[in-house]
């Protein structure tokens, strides 16, 4: 039990570091540590497969993206925009309200929490039995979602149109000369 509390506190500490650290790269690495400690919690609870996937995808791929962005673009070149403080306040208060609401719901309705005893009974097999019978369609539809993401990524990052315009403009200016 004390291990669980220690892990939760560690996760919360790293998560707070993500929010409050002034340096973006520190925040990115704190995020990585948060994801890893969550993976350890998953393992501790008995959902071993989820834990492995958490390390493989969230820590091994998504957090790399964050670090990549911070390194690729020079964030230090953008001055801190103080005027956004109003927006910050609204967002913060909204988030706090939502969290309070969820907590109130959980406490009032006694929503059944995941208990370790229910999960340790070969959780992987139980997961697969559900995933490949009742939830096979959502499983397949997840690929569609990923396809949409791939298309979006390519479309957003491609400069084809801009380049064409620039080339045409160049040609026109040359003709005018």
């Amino acid at each position: 039990m004390s291990v669980d509390i220690f892990l939760s506190l560690l996760t919360a500490a790293f998560a707070l570091m993500v929010v409050f650290s002034k340096k973006t790269v520190v925040a990115a690495f704190a995020l990585l540590m948060t994801l890893l400690t969550i993976a350890i919690i998953y393992f501790q609870v008995g959902t071993v497969f989820l834990s492995a996937v958490q390390v493989l995808v969230n820590a091994g791929a998504i957090a790399i993206l964050f670090v990549f962005v911070m390194m690729l673009i020079n964030l230090e070149q953008f001055p801190n925009n103080r005027e956004k403080n109003k927006m910050k306040l609204i967002i913060t208060s909204f988030t706090v309200l939502v969290i309070m609401g969820v907590l109130a719901l959980v406490i009032n309705n006694n929503i059944e929490m995941l208990s370790v005893e229910n999960l340790t009974d070969n959780s992987m097999k139980a997961l697969f039995d559900k995933l490949f019978t009742a939830y096979y369609l959502p499983f397949e539809l997840a690929t569609m979602l990923l396809l949409a993401a791939i298309v979006a990524c390519i479309v957003i990052t491609s400069h084809e149109k801009h380049e064409k315009h620039e080339k045409e403009e160049l040609l026109e200016t040359e003709k005018n000369r």
Binding site: A52, V55, L56, I64, F68, M71, M124
Partner: protein, 349 residues
């Protein structure tokens, strides 16, 4: 309780001491091998056959001046080599060097971190390998370092995809993800002489995995991250003395860990080498020793293969590297997976 603590500590010491102790030998073999292939002598002055050269190098690394440039980001600059080394050591925790033993009234597993998902954890830990490199490149605050880190990272993630497809194909064939069961499926012989290794089942997957290892551990012909002719030394350009040595160690340990995974999937892991079965049945302790020896021999042969390739193939150009990964190996991996699955289905629907 005391037995358990001793057990854990013993396992950790063995799994850490083996690769770390083998490092000087590997580095020596690499140098002598390079010399052998280029018709040189290689290091042969310190000790007999130059065998003490690695020790001299360690001493040198300790006493060298530690240049700490003024333009670096101090904390991350110091942390990066540590991160690289620790992350490289992590997959070792999931790798067993022998079969489980029944002793003291229970089953003792030889791996430090026992889980039926061990193989996934090992892969996940090796996927974290790019953080040390990225951190080093960014913290060094140098254009060469930065480019080296970005290149290394993009390359590692690209080749991880084709590597993963081959892993899916192998797990599909074995129908299990437990390392011990995967190795058990590979013990025995076809036609009485051919070992039942995964390599003979899935040569294409083996090739993809092998190329993936070379790219993940940044070895030639995939050492674009260091490309001396373009970016001097890549991500460890600003590092000196022991900090540089830690990156060096991390690279070799990453190589050893990935080779071990390759052998588990395609060459029967710790299953006995052909011919060893006759003497292995005499006592359980002998069996464990022979299993460990088989595994270590296989890894040693893999390391020699790394050295061999290093002096055989020239370095790729960066666009060639990315094209190979995305346009040749990834479709090959997907095609291999589809063919495997459909073959299994139609043979036994």
């Amino acid at each position: 309780m005391l037995i358990e603590i001793v057990e854990i500590l013993l396992k950790i010491v063995i799994i850490l001491a083996l690769p770390l102790g083998a490092l000087p030998i590997i580095i020596h073999v690499e140098r002598r091998g390079a010399a052998f292939m280029q018709k040189r002598l290689g290091p042969n002055r310190v000790g007999p056959f130059g065998l003490l050269q690695p020790l001299a190098d360690v001493a040198k690394f300790m006493f060298k001046e530690e240049v700490h440039p003024t333009h670096v980001r101090d904390f991350f600059y110091t942390a990066a080599p540590l991160v690289a080394l620790v992350v490289a050591l992590l997959p070792l925790a999931c790798i067993p060097i022998a079969a489980p033993i029944d002793a003291f009234g229970k089953t003792i597993y030889p791996e430090v971190f026992r889980s039926d998902m061990g193989i996934f954890f090992a892969f996940a830990a090796s996927a974290l390998g790019s953080y040390g490199i990225l951190l080093a490149g960014w913290a060094s605050n140098n254009k060469y370092s930065m480019l080296g880190a970005l290149r290394a990272c993009a390359q590692m993630v690209s080749y991880e995809l084709s590597l993963s497809t081959s892993v899916v194909a192998m797990i599909f064939l074995y129908g299990t993800n437990d390392i011990h069961l995967i190795i058990k499926a590979q013990t025995g012989y076809w036609f009485g002489f051919l070992p039942m290794w995964g390599f003979f089942l899935q040569p294409v997957a083996a090739l993809l995995f092998l190329v993936g290892i070379f790219a993940e551990s940044n070895r030639l012909p995939f050492d674009l991250a260091e490309g001396e002719s373009e970016i001097v030394a890549g991500y460890h350009l600003e590092y000196s003395s022991m900090k540089f040595a830690l990156f060096f160690m991390a690279e070799y340990i990453h190589m050893i860990a990935l080779s071990a995974l390759f052998i588990i999937f395609f060459f029967g892991g710790y299953s006995l080498l052909p011919g060893m079965e006759i003497i292995a049945n005499k006592s359980p302790i002998l069996l464990v020793a022979l299993q460990a020896i088989s595994f270590i021999t296989k890894i040693a042969l893999m390391i020699w293969f790394f050295v061999w390739v290093r002096w055989t193939l020239p370095r790729f150009r960066y666009d060639q590297l990315m094209n190979l990964g995305w346009e040749k190996l990834l479709p090959l991996g997907i095609a291999n997976l589809i063919v495997t699955v459909l073959f299994v289905y139609f043979r036994n629907p």
